[in-house]
Symmetry: C2
Subunit: 117 residues, 2 copies
DNA sequence: GAAGTATGTCGCAAATATACGATATAGAAG
DNA sequence: CTTCTATATCGTATATTTGCGACATACTTC
């Protein structure tokens, strides 16, 4: 990204944004859900389940792997992908904290001076 | 190529991706946190707090508004932005459900045939 | 009405994301 | 060793995102 002054955002904000970006595409959401639902961490079968070419799916997998959200283990000819549940739980906490803060009802001013929110 | 890619993305996957994309930039995360922390839903002051030009911040605000995550109320000369806490709570649920499913420890196969995950 | 202030919109440039065919790699099968 | 199969990578085309200056809008104040 072409942030002019990236340093001004906190590490938490950048980390949250980074993970959010990983989820910012239906294909990657679908991949994670697939890996979660299937008891087996099949590799190429993932591509078969998605309306995208194997090339594109492979790219999405690499993106998720780059963030360490999934692991890929070569098993002979095929590759087994599986979720990094430990990291996912960490991320889950992060999002929960963010949303807890954001969805608190007291967010807007108690008594306004013209502001209707 | 023997694969039938008939599975389109579900509405839930697309919705989750859409919201995730809104959070996929530190500036937008920062904006939401700002609106949550400040008791007043200041408008242009948001731009002052971010290391971005007023134009760019305005664009990020429009993006959040397009998803209905925030509301903007014109108050004379200034505009008051505030969080749509109701929607945020809904989104929070959505993410919680997603992560609960994704971070379950039983995600990977119980007994493998070579797959090490 | 004129001047000033707060905000949104337009247009552009650079960066990034998305998608996929062609090609490379690497193990399996014969 | 040759061929087939499963994946990853390269190159490339297109679409989207990001950022910002210049302009337009709208309200306030004098």
């Amino acid at each position: 990204m072409t942030y002019a002054k990236t340093t001004a955002f906190t590490a938490e904000q950048q980390q949250l944004a980074r993970v959010a970006k990983a989820l910012a595409h239906p294909a990657r959401v679908a991949i994670i859900q697939l890996l979660a639902s299937k008891k087996t961490c099949i590799s190429g079968d993932i591509a078969a389940e998605l309306p995208l070419s194997r090339t594109t799916v492979s790219q999405h997998l690499q993106e998720l792997k780059a963030l360490d959200l999934i692991h890929g283990e070569i098993d002979g000819l095929t590759v087994c992908y599986c979720l990094n549940t430990a990291l996912l739980r960490q991320v889950q906490e992060q999002f929960a904290a963010f949303f807890a803060e954001a969805s608190a009802d007291v967010a807007c001013r108690p008594e306004g001076d013209g502001c209707a929110c």
